[in-house]
């Protein structure tokens, strides 16, 4: 268990032409599950690789447990990493894969065997030890990769989109497994993903990345309910937050908070919604329409939960509303949060 910290980290590629990481400061808590979330090309994987020691930062420091490790090779950092492809050694058996880090650390054979069995038991892959990686399913490969990471007693787990190679059905159960696994071993984990569902489901905290910068860091509820800027507001949430321009600011509200006026009570902001299209998705109704009455007429989305049974037809205009405590305001020029 450890605290990983990066300070003033900058990573440039192509001799300064591309700035993948743009002075990032970030620290995990002990035993925390920190998720780095962002669109592809935002620098989150580069940050993970820099923490691992596979990339050298242009400037700035990487610290693990208050020790500067910036210029140490990966093997001196006591970290374990699970790659997107899992990177299992195809010519070695599952057991050979799992004990490889122990052999590299010159652990004696009995201890190696004991640790490998312990890790395999924890992940439920004892029966696969004699197989080769190509004989395994995607989910089994992930577990082997985790076991290989686990045997070294790393201070930190680094996971680079470990679920993206699995098919959609498997992903949900694999996600659940990852979470349970981390809770069991309690090791600090940094997890990179572009999938907000994974981030919301796994993270104790989420750091939202864009263009090499951390836009916001906080627990899932905080980044969802109180986004720091319009990027976070629209990147997280599906469908994303509605943003209605109103003079120098933007009025933001989540689709699930835009409801028929009749079902809301309390202090609400009135909105006229001209419904153009309706989608019926897993019990919810998604309404696509134009909002008027609060700033410029804007295309917005409303998500009506199954519990709201008000009849809605495309082509009609309805009285909708948003509770005032659900409304968020942003500066139109900078995109940052402002107060009302």
């Amino acid at each position: 268990m450890a605290i990983v910290e990066v300070a003033g980290l900058v990573k440039e590629f192509d001799s300064g032409k591309v700035r993948a990481i743009d002075s990032v400061d970030l620290a995990t808590k002990e035993g925390e599950y920190l998720v780095l979330l962002g669109p592809s090309g935002c620098g989150k994987t580069t940050l993970l690789r820099t923490i691992a020691g596979l990339e050298q930062p242009t400037s700035g420091q990487v610290l693990i447990n208050d020790t500067v490790v910036t210029h140490l090779p990966p093997r001196a950092r006591q970290i374990a990493m699970v790659f997107q492809s899992y990177a299992l050694y195809p010519h070695k058996t599952v057991l050979g894969n799992i004990v490889f880090p122990l052999r590299a650390a010159r652990v004696n054979p009995q201890e190696r065997q004991r640790k490998a069995e312990w890790a395999a038991g924890l992940l439920g892959i004892e029966h696969l030890l004699a197989r080769k990686p190509r004989q395994l399913s995607g989910g089994e490969r992930q577990r082997v990769a985790l076991a290989r990471a686990l045997v070294r007693d790393p201070q930190v787990f680094l996971l680079d989109e470990p679920l993206s190679n699995l098919d959609a059905k498997l992903r949900a159960s694999a996600r659940d497994e990852l979470k349970r696994f981390q809770q069991e071993v309690g090791t600090t984990t940094i997890y990179v993903t572009h999938d907000q569902v994974e981030a919301m489901g796994l993270g104790d905290r989420i750091a939202v990345f864009s263009q090499g910068k951390v836009r916001q860091i906080g627990p899932p509820t905080e980044v969802y309910d109180d986004p720091a800027d319009t990027f976070v507001a629209t990147f997280i949430g599906s469908p994303p937050m509605n943003l209605v321009p109103d003079g120098e600011k933007l009025v933001g509200f989540r689709p699930e908070h835009l409801l028929p006026a009749t079902v809301l009570n309390g202090d609400a902001m009135r909105i006229e919604l001209a419904v153009q299209r309706l989608e019926y998705l897993s019990g919810d109704r998604h309404l696509y329409g134009t909002a008027t009455g609060i700033g410029e007429p804007t295309r917005v989305i409303s998500r009506l939960p199954a519990t709201v049974t008000e009849p809605v037809e495309p082509g009609q205009t309805y009285d909708f509303a948003v509770n005032r405590d659900k409304v968020r305001y942003f500066d139109a020029a900078s995109g940052l949060r402002t107060t009302s």
Binding site: P73, R75, M81, F83, S85, H91, F100, P101
Partner: protein, 300 residues
Amino acid sequence: MKAKIADRDGALAWIFLMPSVVYILALVAVPFILAVGLAVSDVTAGDPSFNFVGGKNFEAAFSDPVFWRSLGNTFLFTSVSMVLIVILGKVVANILIADFKGKWFVRFLVLLPWTTPVTLGAISWLWLLDSIYSPIDWVLRQLGFLAPQGNGSNMYWLGEPGLAMLSVIAVHVWRLTPLAAVIMMAGLVAIPKDMDEAARIDGAGWWRRMFEVTIPMTLPVIAVAALFGAIFTFTDMAVVDVLTNGGPNNATQVLTSWAFFRGIDGGDIGQGAAVALFLFPLLMAAAIAILRAVRKLEVH
């Protein structure tokens, strides 16, 4: 609209296959059958009339001690060259994939021996290994390893049996290492970068990564490079012919050169063919081994 010839798959298949069929028949099958026929005949340069003599040519070849010496030399040359070609080829392959300033120039230099025609390369080595004016000897003299003049001032690279063998092997290795390097480079490039990085994270040092990850993963490619190196050494006679002519005293005589001297220079075509035919089972084994290795590559 009428179907054109380009629409008829059956006809097209034959048209496209024809050049290679003709090539294989005319330049592989016919000479091979001819060689088998000549090996059991008494055809000589002076008397080309065909008379069947059975295994007489083989008997004559086997009873000649030079044949056995050539066979032994062939195996020695081939195995030593192959090992050196693979080891040096691997080293050069690592240089070829490395990223550094001026790498195009290094790549160019590395590939040069392979692109040079064999005979031209061998002739320049003939000069480098000259008994009196060898630049290598000159360097050794300057470094004090050889006497400045008189006795012991020259190595006679191609005149001493051991040194002659060493020289021929060295030239083969020089010539074939680039080919092996390029083949192995292709194998190295195909390894996912993740593998090496995972091994680095797992705490493996350079040697462990090389011997436990890189080499096992490129083993089929290494096998292909080794077999190509072996076949090209095994079947080559230009280097021996130019450098030593099989000498001194048959110390560098190999099967190919012996077949040539017997059959073409000596005029005993039947016996030349018999000696040459002896290469066939060995080459066939090598070809099967190559195909197997390639098959293994495809499976991965």
